[in-house]
Symmetry: C2
Subunit: 500 residues, 2 copies
């Protein structure tokens, strides 16, 4: 496979430049002194520019073509065939975008982020509207440049969830919505059955950190190839399979925040750490899509971390860590508390049950805005009426409504649905893991996370980007992505918690 | 200055790549998880390779020539003229080295470092000798490639101290040696006059860190553009004028180590932070030579930090921080203790008085080895007899003798003299500062370091690399580098301490 090797060698500089850029980004969020902002922007611009130029060079195209000829007839699962497939996909995406458009988007979204932040602070949508208009114009231009067969949104979605189609997401959401909206409404009738007030006491931040660290180490996040630092926003970033770092932040008077976000990020990090070592330094290392990535973080955060077996193991320890706050709270009460449902206005604070309604709303609005069925000026009203119909509440102002998320101002259109796809997949993968290894819940209750981790490693993580998300799910579960399992999971869990 | 601007733009990617590489190096020494070593080496190799390739490209040569024509007749001190001068110097150095030789040196020193570490551990010079032979062969080859008029060593020295000549260093050392050796011998007769045992008690590491931080902030190291972290070895690194970081390590039972090394590194860092902002993102930012760099670190560490006025200000605070250890020690006793002289075998632990004898020894040996006047096999004997004649002691083994320093195994030949040049310059600059601003010692005794800092800023720091070290010293002090001032400083200070 001489040609594939040439392609790999040619691209290794691109991979290493991108890894270096990721480290600069991590440092920016963790340790960089404030005065360095401008020089850091210049350094990142140089690395991104060089990586982009080297990747879209004609030489890359020629090497891909030669490698494609060489891998014809090769095993589909071989590293070589997969590398050529994935590089072709990324190369086509990146070369289809004129650099003028890339620069326009970069400029508009750099400014746009500031305009949005100010508009949200003032709860003034009108101040953001012209920027949003321009961003959607650019997104339409981007979709046309990338190309699509059916729906304009397909082109944007494909960047984050390769080969997923808009119509497919609509079908999934339609099915879920029909069952979920009445289920949410039923729970909303009984919100007072769960008391979560003990989670909102003062919790010493040092002890939170220590407990959280112990938990994620035990889950299997490998600290010889990773670390956790503090940052304003929790995130996962990776500079190679063997250097995957997470960040967190601690709220002194809300226990679940740092703990579950640490477990969430550890889920992402274990995915990045799990790629086969043969993929290190190539474009095949890492996660195959944002949806599959989110399946890992949500599986660990929600199914495991907010599940009963997990707390059968950890709750005694947590009580000993916070005896004043939790000494008199029994396991069942605590379990219900960490799964409390609320009429949430803010997506990032939403519980498992309502979370996907927030996503559907954004997905529907993104499509309508992109296809011109909704004017930007009418967007806040559309947002508010959807909130009322899905969640039974109307935001008091646009800051808590349409202005709450950073994504659109950053040009991230087509991104939101991957959060829901991740939720659906997390339950499908979990169900399959339990079918293969029925002892997993008992293992977890004993503090043994290795059976689950090994199953995920062997069936999902090891592949890196070698299989597209749809292929991976079919191969792992024997069927495509669906919402049936997720809805059943919600009903089972929350019917018990809320006595439905 | 269109051509200069083109050159600047062309080189900005090189500068940013090198800055990014420096951050990767910093992370490697501070926060990188151990598993990442291999991928980090790949990332650094890519960044260095790209920066080198872009710098030595023919395009750079053409742009320099065009810019040289443009700056003819321009003000020597202008940023433009200086940029062209410095880039020409660096370009000639880097293009004269065949990439085959660069690779040979890289390979030999990468291996060499491990061979040396093992040999030192076993105190077995014979195991290191073949490597040292090859390294000196490569150094001769390097010197020939770089070119020189008088002495082979000139070519190597010039990399670290531009335009300094070997013969000049010899003259300086000859003059100093004649006075220093008998002075050291006289002090060695009276070592028992200073008791430093109170420095070797247990000192809480957290309190050491807090006190050290307070000190370097007060000196003027700007933490909005810098930070201090822990690492195995103390060092300073810079990713722009506005992001200059230092590291330190704490010894739990030797107070001076972390404290004075923090002040030392802060001296380096303030030099890097002090370049004119107009030089940011160009090859003119930073220090003009290792010698001038060391003048700043040693001025702050020794002349200021081990001086009386400094402790008139800080000693009360230090006593309150460590009441058990220092409560009963008066200022004069403490001042003498931190300036204790010893028959030091190890250079990095040597006091101000004996330090330069260690450097002379290495400088003489480097020249003799390079010029073939000394065979590698005879080097340990040469080392030991010089130690006896300069310092009156013979190392008990080669680990504490010829194998103690990392430099030769890393291919750093020509580097050592800059330590001494820095010591000489530190006193010359200090004398001139006091002549211009006589209140400086009193200001320091009151805890006001701004008058000294501002003088250094205006006379040295602001220039970055715009003036060569010799030019800078002439301009600042009105004379070339000399050892007279340094020897007078030693005699004044240590005659008092040791009652000579």
């Amino acid at each position: 496979m001489e040609k594939v090797q040439q392609l790999k060698t040619h691209l290794s500089d691109v991979v290493r430049l991108n890894q270096a850029a990721a480290l600069l980004g991590w440092d920016q969020q963790t340790y960089m002194p404030p005065g360095a902002a401008e020089s850091r922007a210049e350094q990142l611009a140089t690395l991104s520019k060089l990586a982009h130029e080297m990747f879209v060079a004609d030489e890359t195209g020629r090497l891909i073509e030669a490698a494609e000829a060489e891998v014809q007839g090769a095993d589909y699962d071989s590293d070589e065939a997969a590398l050529v497939r994935v590089v072709r996909h990324d190369y086509d995406l990146e070369t289809r975008l004129p650099s003028r458009l890339v620069q326009d988007i970069a400029r508009e979204t750099t400014l746009g982020h500031e305009v949005w932040a100010k508009a949200r602070q003032d709860s003034n949508f009108a101040a953001f509207a012209p920027t949003l208009e321009r961003i959607y114009d650019l997104m339409r231009e981007k979709a046309e440049a990338l190309g699509y067969e059916d729906r304009m949104y397909d082109a944007l979605l494909d960047q984050f969830e390769p080969h997923m189609k808009t119509a497919h997401v609509e079908t999934l959401f339609d099915g879920l919505r029909a069952e979920l909206v009445p289920f949410v409404a039923a729970i909303f009738e009984r919100l007072d059955r769960v008391d979560s007030s003990m989670l909102r006491l003062p919790y010493d931040v040092e002890r939170q950190a220590e407990f959280g660290l112990k938990v994620i180490k035990q889950l299997g996040y490998d600290f010889s190839r990773g670390r956790q630092d503090k940052a304003v926003h929790p995130f996962t970033t990776s500079f190679s399979i063997n250097d995957v770092r997470i960040t967190t932040r601690y709220l002194p008077d809300f226990l679940p925040s740092a703990l579950f976000s640490s477990v969430h990020e550890a889920g992402h990090a274990m995915y990045e750490q799990g790629s086969s070592q043969s993929l290190e330094g190539t474009m095949l290392a890492g996660g195959t899509s944002l949806g599959v990535h989110e399946s890992q973080s949500r599986l660990w955060e929600n199914i495991v971390g907010r599940g009963k077996p997990f707390w059968q193991h950890f709750y005694g320890d947590l009580q000993r860590t916070f005896p004043e706050q939790l000494g008199g709270v029994d396991l069942d009460t605590f379990y219900k508390a960490i799964n409390f449902v609320s009429r949430s206005l803010i997506r990032v604070e939403a519980d498992e049950v309502t979370y996907n309604l927030h996503i559907m709303l954004r997905f529907e609005m993104e499509n309508a805005l992109l296809e011109g069925r909704l004017a930007v000026k009418d967007a806040p009203d559309a947002w508010n009426s959807k909130m009322q119909s899905y969640l039974g509440i109307t935001p008091p102002d646009d800051a808590k409504g349409i202005l709450q998320d950073v994504h659109w101002s950053s040009g991230l259109v087509g991104y939101f649905p991957t959060y829901s796809l991740g939720n659906f997949l997390s339950v499908q993968y979990w169900d399959k893991a339990l079918q293969d290894v029925p002892s997993i819940p008992d293992d977890i209750a004993r503090g043994d996370f290795s059976t689950l981790r090994q199953w995920l490693q062997d069936h999902i993580l090891v592949y890196g980007r070698k299989l597209w998300p749809g292929e991976l799910t079919e191969r792992v579960t024997g069927e495509p992505i669906q919402t049936r399992s997720f809805m059943r999971y919600l009903k089972d869990k929350y019917s018990e918690i809320y006595g439905l």
